[in-house]
């Protein structure tokens, strides 16, 4: 079904998550015309808050966000999955979740906003492992700051707590006063171990910021902050729209059209939910559709000119899938009551294993003491133990105040065999295949996880812990990266240091899909910094055009 009228703009962006919407905002504010095509619907916070309250399985982060049938996302992290089909020896370790709706996956992120370390960009040079990026930390530093200002990141004073990523400016907001549980954990680690607990940089308001309120400690950052004290992509959508960018919801991009020389992208095509097809032309195109959907779109756009998919002369589109696959344990502390779950969910981290010479053989990691309300879990546990009445109430109070949960983010490594392909057996209602990922954990990550398990056992001992519950196997951390990898050599990479595809001069990618290594912190601040750098490049090129 052809559309009556073609849409056109200077810059056409696919995806309205933090990457796409922040580029749209920057460009629209510079007077550049922008269209953002978003596969999912417009949504509003209050309905998700209500969905959360009515959810039986509260720890299910996807639970409050049902997908629309034309833009499906993984319904949960269960393998086999109804949408993201994972295979291979560590299929379960790659069962990522994400959202397809206006504003993207940060509706249910936790706001942890780390800059990477300079070494993260030079893993090959420094440690002989994985790959180097085609840019250095210093190239990104100004954009890290711009991203921190955009999101409203609070963090420690660098002269008091240096997180290892050199800063030219202080954090936009003062550090968050940490919870009693976090204070006790910090004290214990500081006094009884050679390690330290640092204040996690986080996109969470410690004062009113960007017309959003101060954090009230609802402890529901994942899956949904009820008041918007935590940044998410929807705020960049609102700002971009106010500056004149056009957002088209329910627009599922399925094809990337190029000129006869196959050098420039001329249009993208999208389906509306009735499978009406629309063509959108522009001067520049940015794919910002999340690591998994970006690679899927580029592969699905294969045609006679590019039989292996768009921007894929290297054959690396869909390869090098990485994550911060982790380890998780919960236990009952034998020490004083901590009452975790008062305040934000993730605020304090052991960062001693973020960098060191040992990175030549095992991956780096961060440890979170998850400050999560444990009342419901405590109640389930106490009922299962057979308590009733007064004794049940005693148990609930004790378990809720003494349960400790630790998890880690362990560094993955680019391996071309870890690969995303189009499902041959499942497609959605528009006829677009589901994504499929083969995953085998790199030895580098396995060794890192082993090290973490040892540390966790020490910490459990230190806290006189009992009733250990280890999450079986490995824990996917929803930080997929690498599917359109960055590099200097077009033969083994998809984009250059500016996130421009080697094959098509006006096609950029803004996503963790460009990461050459997955680094040692949560990914999104780096996604945003790279996206803002793309916006900067586009502004300059359009000004000269």
């Amino acid at each position: 079904m052809p559309s009556e009228q073609d849409l056109s703009a200077d810059v056409v962006i696919v995806g309205s998550g933090v990457a796409g919407s922040s580029i749209a905002n920057e460009l629209a504010r510079a007077g550049i015309s922008v269209i953002v095509l978003e596969a999912g619907p417009r949504v509003d916070r209050q309905h998700f808050v209500e969905n959360f309250r009515n959810l039986e399985n509260k720890p299910s982060y996807q639970g409050p966000f049902p997908a629309v049938p034309w833009a499906r996302h993984p319904p949960n992290q269960i393998t086999p999955n109804e949408y993201l089909h994972t295979t291979g020896p560590d299929a379960e370790a790659y069962q990522q979740v994400y959202l397809r709706m206006m504003g993207g996956t940060t509706w249910h992120w936790a706001g942890c906003a780390w800059r990477y370390l300079p070494s993260d960009f030079e893993l090959k040079t420094r440690y002989g492992q994985g790959r180097d990026w085609a840019l250095k930390y210093d190239d990104l530093e100004p954009f890290y700051y711009q991203a921190e200002v955009m999101m409203g990141v609070c963090g420690p004073d660098p002269s008091v707590e240096d997180l290892g990523s050199p800063r030219k400016q202080p954090y936009p907001m003062d550090a968050l006063p940490i919870s009693y549980a976090a204070q006790q954990f910090r004290k214990l680690i500081g006094e009884k171990t050679p390690y330290r607990v640092v204040h996690e940089p986080q996109a969470r308001n410690t004062r009113p910021y960007d017309s959003r309120p101060t954090c009230e400690g609802h402890n529901n950052c994942m899956p949904i902050c009820p008041i918007g004290a935590m940044y998410n992509g929807s705020y960049s959508v609102y700002h971009a729209e106010a500056a004149g960018a056009k957002f088209v919801p329910n627009a599922v991009v399925y094809r990337i059209e190029r000129d006869s020389a196959n050098k420039r992208v001329t249009a993208v095509h999208y389906y509306d939910p009735d499978k009406g097809s629309h063509r959108v032309t522009g001067k520049y195109f940015v794919i910002a559709a999340h690591c998994i959907e970006t690679a899927k779109l580029m592969l699905f756009s294969a045609d006679e000119q590019s039989p292996d998919g768009i921007a894929n002369s290297s054959g690396h589109v869909g390869r090098n899938m990485m994550d911060h696959t982790g380890v998780q344990v919960s236990f009952i502390s034998g020490d004083k009551a901590l009452w975790p779950g008062r305040g934000p969910l993730e605020t304090n981290v052991i960062d001693n294993f973020r960098d060191g010479d040992w990175r030549n053989e095992r991956g780096a990691y961060l440890v979170h003491m998850v400050d999560d309300n444990q009342v419901d879990l405590a109640t389930q546990l106490a009922i299962a133990k057979g308590y009733v009445g007064r004794e049940l109430e005693e148990q609930i109070r004790y378990l809720a105040s003494h349960t400790v949960r630790l998890f880690s983010h362990n560094e993955g490594l680019a391996d071309p065999d870890n690969r995303l392909t189009l499902s041959k057996t499942n497609k959605d209602m528009l006829g677009i295949p589901h994504p499929e990922v083969y995953y085998k954990l790199p030895e580098y990550t396995v060794k890192s996880c082993e090290h973490t398990r040892g540390l966790f056992r020490d910490l459990i001992g230190l806290m006189h812990g009992t009733d250990e519950e280890w999450t079986p196997g490995y824990f996917p951390q929803d930080h997929p990266a690498g599917s359109t990898i960055m590099g200097t050599d077009p033969k083994d990479s998809v984009v250059d240091g500016f996130c421009r595809t080697h094959d098509h001069e006006n096609l950029f990618i803004a996503s963790s899909s460009v990461f050459s290594s997955v680094g040692t912190g949560n990914i999104t601040l780096t996604v945003a910094a790279l996206a803002l750098r793309v916006a900067d490049t586009l502004k300059k090129e359009l000004a000269h055009a």
Binding site: V43, E50, G389
Partner: protein
């Protein structure tokens, strides 16, 4: 290739020209199980009709359920509106529960049990199925769940007994940075379980 079967009408975006109506469609449908729609009506009217709307045909089961619930929670008062909705959910999920609740009630009134623990352990000894009935009742009142639905969230007893320390997620009212303050200490419990232990099955996410 297997194409997805749409989970709700795919023309939904067209029937909803404005975002708000589309969003309404995106809300989970099982929310109607909530108290507002169920028990409240029963309490306001206080009539057989109101009860029947909640508990199906069997309004006579509700007082038995409430009496059992009071004994098993060691509490003199429980909210009857919540009780109505929990009872309806429990017997809807497992119809045999209606009969089992009646029998457990008979067992309770046939003896003299001074505590929840005394009743629960004797009941399991009498008939192992009573353990499941009791755990449904505990899950209902303490977690606010019945029939895999949320009957109440904020008013679940687990939050009542921890309210001096912590808030249900999304309902924090402690004031600026309340979380920095020292919460109450909790003594190591000395009470014994009443029922045999079960394996804790955590729902996958």
């Amino acid at each position: 290739m297997a194409a997805d079967r749409p989970c709700f009408p795919t023309s939904i975006h067209r029937s909803t020209p404005n975002a708000i109506r589309l969003n309404r469609a995106l809300r989970m449908s099982r929310r109607d199980a909530l108290l507002g729609a169920l028990g409240a009506a029963a309490v306001v009217t206080g009539s057989r009709q109101g009860m029947a709307a909640t508990a199906g045909q069997d309004d006579t089961g509700v007082p038995l359920f409430m009496a059992l619930s009071q004994r098993l929670t060691d509490r003199d008062t429980l909210d009857p509106r919540i009780g109505n909705a929990l009872y309806a959910g429990i017997i809807n999920a497992v119809p045999e529960r209606r009969d089992q609740i009646q029998k457990l009630h008979d067992f309770m009134t046939g003896g003299s049990f001074a505590s929840a623990r005394a009743l629960a352990s004797a009941a399991e000894h009498q008939d192992p199925v009573f353990k499941d009935v009791i755990q449904d009742i505990m899950t209902g009142w303490y977690r606010g769940l019945a029939d895999h639905k949320v009957v109440v969230y904020r008013s679940a007893l687990m939050f009542d007994i921890t309210k001096d320390a912590i808030y249900p997620k999304t309902y924090a009212t402690g004031g600026p940075f309340y979380w920095t303050q020292t919460p109450p200490e909790v003594a190591v419990p000395t009470g014994e379980p009443a029922l045999s232990p079960s394996k804790l099955v955590i729902e996958p996410t």
